[in-house]
């Protein structure tokens, strides 16, 4: 009995080691923290349009009354991964027809206008969050981040970081499809 007790440390270490090995999985992103907002209504905010862009801004009201599943993408012209993500978002909008709203985080109107002119504009609305207040309300941890908002203005899903690569895209699209399906079922039920 006593001898067995002396094996306890090794067992504990092996167990911990197993978890550590699991944690090393290259596909695991320790920074991906789910938002406290999940299943919560969107935070209260109202963003003005970007000056000179010619697209309307948006706020909580627009999201609550959207009547369909909407994506909110936090982006900025100064953010390098956003450029790479831009192509993915553009394709996603073209292929799925989902409504995409841009939360333009701490960006100069002239910069973002030039950026969108150059890369093309997949956004239906772009709100200018010049001082980052809306970003704080949304609790973002960095740029880019993308949220899936239900028709009733509930935050359904949050993706931290750029949606780049087949795995990330598949993950995000699955979440989007589920959201849209749930929405369709809810409508059919009504």
């Amino acid at each position: 009995m006593k001898r067995i007790l002396f094996f306890l440390p090794v067992l504990l270490v092996v167990l911990t080691g197993g978890f550590l090995l699991w944690g090393l999985d290259a596909d695991r992103n320790p920074s991906a923290i789910p938002s406290v907002l999940i299943s919560q209504p969107v935070p209260q905010f109202d963003l003005p349009p970007v000056e000179g862009l010619g697209l309307p801004g948006f706020g909580s009201v627009e999201l609550e009354q959207a009547g369909e599943v909407v994506l909110v993408n936090v982006f900025a012209s100064w953010c390098v991964p956003c450029r790479a993500e831009h192509a993915v978002l553009t394709r996603m909008v073209r292929e799925t027809g989902v409504v995409l709203m841009g939360l333009n985080y701490k960006d100069k109107p002239a910069d973002i206008t030039a950026w969108l002119d150059n890369l093309g504009n997949p956004y239906d609305r772009v709100g200018s969050d010049l001082d980052g207040r809306a970003g704080i309300e949304w609790g973002i941890s960095g740029v880019p981040e993308t949220f899936i908002i239900g028709a009733d203005g509930l935050v359904l899903y949050r993706y931290v970081g750029p949606i780049i690569g087949p795995k990330a895209e598949a993950e995000f699209l699955t979440a989007l499809e589920q959201a849209q399906q749930a929405q369709a079922e809810a409508e059919a039920g009504v």
């Binding site: 450029r83 790479a84 831009h86 150059n118 890369l119 093309g120």
Partner: protein
């Protein structure tokens, strides 16, 4: 030279360190029993001292003293370990190990290091920096001259400027230089595709709508421009139309006829895209008859040999290759790409009639391809070039 000297010196130092104990039996080794005994004696003295100072009671002191003495007795009863001071063998092993040290280290070093690669302090790279500054300077002057020119500067000048900026990795400046030319009458597909390349490099390989427009213009001017085709394929792939991108690349490769420098990149790119689509790999050899393997083309050795041949020998060599292809196609008449290649090869050899026949065979096979397939237009163009129906 100094480097090797230092290396040998370090290796020798390591060797010497290992054989250092051979120098002679220095001082005797500390023995466990002696050491422990010294510590217990010290503990005894300490207990005595504490008792004297009144820190511990006489009772406690007695108990502690008894315990320490028991330890001493136990130590004396314990087995005496080997007398290390008496033993002194293993000299040969030590020398052998010592010699092995630099040898093994050398082995590790030569597999990991880059022997003889000089270090290069930033401060010592003034020549290189001066060169870079000189290029910067010349480029700036060229740009200034072009800007100051009331006629807008000669197109060759802008092309030179754009290419220089591309080489320097200043993609934005390069794009600006090419953009100046984009609006001109004499703009060529070549210039436009370089412009597109600058725009794409600027976005780390992402084809922007603006770049896409430029690519389309380049292709309007010359649908066969390899760079234009290449970037069109990249753009298609990024839009998710990987099938079309793959087909476009293969069609252009088929239309090449003879080995061209850009074909290798095309093959790589086609395979990269093809992999995600689950298509089988293509090889450079199947597009350039010069590089086909013996069963269906020449071996690499034959190709090398071909490049050393005289003009007439080479023509004969190519002809034999083409005939081999023609024979193979007789047995496998369903190979559309093969017929296209054969048609192109005959075209290159100047045998218009045979080329036209091959194109016609290809057209029959391509009958159920959609009109958008680039091969269809390639066939039509080939027939027209070879004298029509």
């Amino acid at each position: 030279m100094a480097f090797w000297f230092i290396l040998v010196a370090l290796g020798l130092l390591a060797l010497l360190l290992v054989i250092l104990p051979l120098r002679g039996a220095a001082e005797p080794l500390a023995d466990r029993r002696d050491g422990a005994m010294a510590i217990y004696s010290d503990q005894l003295r300490e207990v005595e001292g504490e008792a004297r100072r009144g820190v511990i009671s006489a009772d406690e002191a007695r108990g502690a003293t008894l315990e320490i003495k028991q330890r001493m007795l136990a130590l004396n009863r314990s087995q005496v370990g080997p007398d290390y001071n008496a033993a002194a063998g293993g000299r040969k092993t030590l020398v052998l190990v010592a010699v092995l040290v630099p040898v093994l280290a050398g082995g590790i070093y030569f597999s990991l290091g880059s022997p003889g690669t000089e270090s290069l302090a930033f401060a010592d790279r003034q020549d290189e920096q001066a060169d870079a500054a000189e290029v910067d300077n010349l480029t700036a002057r060229l740009e200034q001259r072009l800007m100051d020119d009331p006629q807008g500067g000669p197109s060759e000048g802008w092309v030179l400027l754009g290419r220089t900026y591309m080489r320097m990795g200043r993609f934005e400046d390069a794009a600006n230089a090419f953009a100046t030319l984009a609006g001109r009458e004499d703009v060529t597909a070549d210039i436009l595709s370089q412009y597109a390349e600058a725009l794409i490099s600027l976005e780390n390989g992402v084809v922007t709508p603006r770049a896409s427009q430029v690519i389309d213009r380049a292709r309007e001017l010359d649908p066969r421009n390899p760079a234009g085709v290449f970037y069109k394929a990249v753009a298609l792939d990024q839009q998710g139309k990987s099938e079309a991108a793959h087909a476009l690349l293969i069609a252009r490769l088929n239309a090449a006829g003879a080995l061209q420098p850009w074909m290798e990149i095309f093959v790589d790119q086609a395979n990269r895209i093809g992999m995600t689509l689950g298509k089988s790999m293509v090889e450079l050899a199947s597009f350039a008859p010069e590089v086909s393997a013996p069963a269906s083309g020449p071996s690499a050795a034959e190709v090398v040999a071909a490049s050393d041949m005289s003009e007439s020998d080479r023509a004969a060599f190519v002809r034999s290759m083409v005939e081999r292809l023609a024979t193979r196609l007789e047995t496998e008449p369903g190979d559309l790409d093969g017929w296209l290649r054969l048609a192109n090869a005959y075209g290159v050899l100047g045998e218009t009639e045979k080329s036209r026949n091959a194109f016609l065979r290809a057209r029959d096979l391509a009958a159920d391809l959609s009109a958008e397939d680039p091969r269809v237009s390639a066939i039509a163009a080939g027939i027209a070039k070879a004298g029509g129906e």
